[in-house]
Point group: C2
Chain length 655, copies 2
């Protein structure tokens, strides 16, 4: 085992207090987590029941009844508990901890004597464990519960759930392996791979890392585990009892090739990025070059050929999946919120392997755009699908666009995205910094979010206070507090959106010859208490154009300022938005104070609109060209769309 | 019963001999009909078996075995036989007639003693007749066989099949009706409604018209027949044995409302237009004003809000259906060839009700574009789906575009479009003319296709010879041959694409004050043998723009010249075609002689192309605008696309 060169800062050491982000993180703490708990307990009026808690009660013998919900319903409780762990790390809350302890008692009560934990198989199909790895998410649920256990342990020091999940991992390692009588299988929905690395990091037990490696190593190998399993099942699936004559395409679960041979992002997008994150974790801990190279290739393909400008991934609803290079349709894409969260996981792991701002740029893009768009300002409504273009009537009446919701929905039957958003936002502090070197002699800042970090740097304890005005302006300041002067480097990410324009001043003076490497500016010096760094990142309004192979965006332009991608909404612009265009020469200005958007900086420009005044109602096609008229355009952050009623929305506009 | 004001000319009276169309009609006669016969007999190497003939042999007790193919497989044989009937009308062929007679003997041998004819229920589910009208196409198959019977009778005078189908119609009239013990049902796939009108026209038996009217009258009424039937079936369907908890939306089969209350084209597009054609037939024969008004409203909605510029209908693959007004996506549309054929049926019936060129304009648009695009130059390959835009890689790798084939396919498992194209082209002569008045004192020309028509006009026999150079030029001449001078009007359609510019000369002199009414120019005079009318229709190259509510076409332009819509193909233009644009000021010129396109007139213009030369491979988005460069654009008739290998295609181009 080797050590990753970078380590993230534990959540307890990063206290965020940010005028932009705290709105969201507070929402998670004060609204989302309590609301989710009610939902898990089937106490939200009008909402479909979750069944999650009840399933555990039935499995624990505390209640009679039938299993309810989807096969992976356990993971909802796990994700909630993980959020609780993160929340308690930064905001101790005895009452919440008491509720969580009780939930953990319940979970452990539902665990079987041999360590197995899964309420679906315990309640509904006892004796059928591990017979359908491809469909049934047993390890996926275990993975989420492991993540919850580690988060809760790190927050509270309580090991009960972590020990229980260690027993589950040991049980898995008994059933699965290369030995006689063992299954050489792996889960259809990757998740446990990265979770086991967390369990290894928390416990120091190398066997958990080895189990993760086994699962990664076996995936896609011949003879193909899923092919054998499919034949054993007689071609039926969990979702349909009608035997299929053709085997599924294993690319859907990224098992079409051994993972080290994969270079092209395919299949279900969430599974893909969870797996890539696990691969990067393993590469960091084992020094496995082939895994690292596969991660790099997959990263490059995904972010350079298959990613929306909002950091969304997954071009099709069919299988919630990638399609192929440059296929980025705007009105029918999937871009699941969870997939962008997984992309953030992957990016943050790649940053531990190599400090290249590209990873952080993408992480920031996904975070500030798709992930934020996924959650409503009230914290109770969510998008799973994050389209580039919405026409509400088409969402309602064209079946090919039915998956694209025009307004955020309350908690869904398959509640994957809301708790995923919650756990990401509750742990946001983990993504802001990392430290490099055994003695932590470089502190990296990947994201600009106000707050305070405490860590050991250059041999001593340092407190670094960040004050950021992102995303509305590019002014950031850092103040060092330390008892004794310390030598270390502060490595500041220079985002691509600055177009290389920034200034860094230390204690009011130009920082001088700053080393700029792979997108980070390194300020290395002996830092004294009270030293202050002022970073001014230029935040030009950017017109973005897509690669010419992206047919969907040909002739179109998108707007970005700082980390935020903008969009047109019908609330501010006349429909149909397709009739609007932004001429190349139009000056774009900023303004604030748009009603309903708080302090958001919005963009305005003198655009053009198709002038439909002289069209006859009954004229579908005509030879007279469309007259144009001037039209003020207002673009708002994509992160905030859909918070002011329904209506059309468009990211890419005619240029 | 009343008489329609217009009557089409029987096929025997219209002999087409046209340099453009004869290629296609000869292909049908010499290639398609023989090829289809082989297919029906399961003798096409490599093709999925049709089972159609074999099913009839089994039903007739001539062969043992199991039913094969879809529930409506019988209709394939019917459509073939209908084509044969049309072909024999204009091209007697004793050998083909012998084969057809044998097929008819087989069909009649498969008929049951009570008149019932359907091989699926006879062979596979005896005793289950009429238990699933919604799914199972029993009347649909009967309707096609009635059409075949009438066509064959008109061509040969042989009544055997027509009498048999009369017995089937009588059997249906026993089972269905408003009397005690009768079912108040109607078929899930409309077709028999228009077929029964043909049977009435051929036999003069009013009971067939009344049966058609019953089926139209009952449709969509409450208590809802399909709802009752669905409950009787226990919610299962022909396609799935899993009981559904929710009833289907009857709009899919246009049974959501009584037909006279329908004003909005919805549901499966082929079923819709077949029904509308039947409604128009009934309105013509019964003088039913409410039906006529419904037809007008549905026509207006469909052609003014939901029709592609190629005359295609059906915006979505889901249910092969209409969606809603102005929803005309270019890359995912369905625009089934059969739906445009049905649109032609509907248009030609509306022309019998009222001589308005709008109906003929649409008929011509659908015929010259979607229907022709549906068939390959070899006559053996077909498109079911007629997209506005094709990216072959997306068809292969994006599941939402999988229905859009980039190359025409050989005969499909569900062989609905190829035999439908065949029967339309074999009967093309029926669509060219109609005559008005009991004595036929006006001869209407709806389409400009060379050939000769014989009919009674103004009390005497007239032969009208048409020489047309469409679609390549707008020069058309008519020569009258008659034994004695006759007084009648020649009503010439002035297509909308002339933009009102045309000249008409009679015997070399300007025609003088020509009455122009509803798009037809009426030349009324005493016609002598040898009189010659020269019509010059302007054929400007038209730039077409779509209604501003059509979001998919915003900022785009399409090209049309005469009846032909044009498109860009990768064979002539650099991919990606999305990178090309046609500036408003670019002059467009015509040329001929493009290799592989025969005498087709193609369009050329100095366009622009995105210049991708300086894009980095790894750059998905960038701030530098795309440079443009000049690029010669070549547009070819949409009717001919896909005959020179695969590749991209686009109808709507950037403007």
């Amino acid at each position: 085992m080797t050590q990753p060169t970078h380590r993230p800062l534990p959540l307890q050491q990063v206290q965020l207090q940010d005028s932009f982000w705290s709105d969201y993180t507070e929402l998670v703490r004060t609204t989302v987590i309590p609301y989710q708990w009610e939902a898990l307990n089937d106490r939200v009026p009008g909402a479909e029941p979750s069944h999650a808690i009840r399933n555990f009660r039935i499995a624990a013998g505390l209640e009679a009844g039938a299993y309810g919900g989807l096969v992976f319903q356990d993971s909802d409780l796990a994700k909630w508990l993980e959020s609780v762990g993160y929340s308690l790390s930064t905001h101790p809350d005895p009452e919440l901890e008491r509720i969580a302890d009780e939930a953990i008692d319940l979970i452990v009560a539902a665990q079987q004597d041999d360590g197995y934990l899964n309420t679906y198989y315990t309640v509904k199909e006892p004796g059928r464990r591990w017979t359908n790895l491809y469909d049934c998410h047993e390890m996926y649920c275990a993975g989420h519960m492991i993540e919850a256990a580690v988060a809760y342990y790190r927050a509270t020091g309580k090991r009960k759930l972590m020990d229980a999940m260690g027993r589950m991992a040991d049980h898995i390692a008994e059933v699965f392996g290369t030995g006689p009588g063992q299954l050489r299988g792996y889960d259809g929905h990757q998740e446990i791979e990265l979770a086991l690395v967390k369990l290894y990091e928390a416990t120091g037990e190398a066997r958990f890392l080895r189990l993760s490696q086994f699962l990664i190593d076996e995936r896609g190998r011949e003879p193909h585990f899923y092919a054998e399993e499919w034949k054993r099942r007689g071609g039926v699936s969990h979702w349909s009892s009608v035997p299929q004559t053709q085997m599924p395409d294993w690319a859907y679960v990224q098992a079409h090739l051994p993972v080290r041979e994969q270079t092209y992002a395919v299949g279900h997008a969430v599974r893909a990025v969870y797996m890539y994150a696990g691969m990067a974790d393993l590469a960091a801990h084992t020094g496995d070059r082939a895994l690292l190279e596969a991660c790099r290739a997959l990263w490059r393909n995904m972010t350079r050929k298959q990613m929306y400008v909002t950091g969304g991934i997954g071009s099709t609803v069919h299988g919630e999946a990638f399609t192929f290079d440059y296929d980025l349709p705007n009105a029918t894409n999937y871009s699941e919120t969870c997939a962008s969260i997984g992309l953030i996981f992957f990016a943050s792991r790649m940053l531990r392997l190599e400090a290249k701002s590209d990873y952080a740029d993408v992480m920031e893009r996904a975070l500030y755009n798709t992930v934020l768009a996924g959650i409503a300002a009230d914290g109770k409504h969510y998008f799973y699908v994050n389209p580039m273009e919405v026409w509400p009537e088409a969402s309602a009446r064209n079946p090919g666009r039915r998956h694209v919701k025009a307004v955020r929905q309350a908690w869904y039957g398959c509640a994957c995205c809301p708790p995923n958003v919650a756990r990401l936002l509750a742990s946001l502090g983990e993504y802001v910094y990392s430290a490099e070197g055994a003695e932590g002699d470089t502190l990296y800042t990947h994201l600009y979010i106000s707050g305070e970090a405490r860590l050991s740097l250059g041999g001593g304890e340092v407190r670094m206070r960040q004050e950021s005005r992102l995303p509305w302006s590019g002014d950031v300041a850092f103040t060092v507090e330390t008892d004794t002067p310390q030598t270390f480097a502060l490595a500041l990410r220079i985002p691509a959106w600055t177009e290389g324009r920034y200034t860094a001043r230390v204690n009011g003076e130009a920082a001088g010859a700053v080393e700029l490497r792979e997108g980070y500016a390194y300020l290395r010096r002996v830092w004294q208490a009270g030293d202050r760094v002022e970073l001014r990142l230029a935040m030009p309004i950017q017109r973005l154009y897509a690669h010419p192979q992206v047919r969907s965006d040909a002739g179109l332009v998108a707007l970005q300022r700082g980390p935020l991608v903008y969009c047109l909404e019908e609330a501010d612009n006349p429909a149909p938005l397709a009739g609007l265009s932004l001429p190349a020469e139009a000056e774009i200005t900023t303004r604030t104070g748009l009603p309903g958007l708080g302090e958001a900086v919005v963009l305005e420009a003198a655009g053009l609109a198709d002038d439909a005044a002289d069209w006859q109602e009954d004229e579908l096609y005509r030879t007279a060209p469309m007259p144009r008229k001037t039209q003020r355009l207002t673009a708002v952050p994509y992160a905030l769309w859909g918070n002011r009623g329904g209506g059309e929305m468009r990211v890419w506009m005619r240029s």
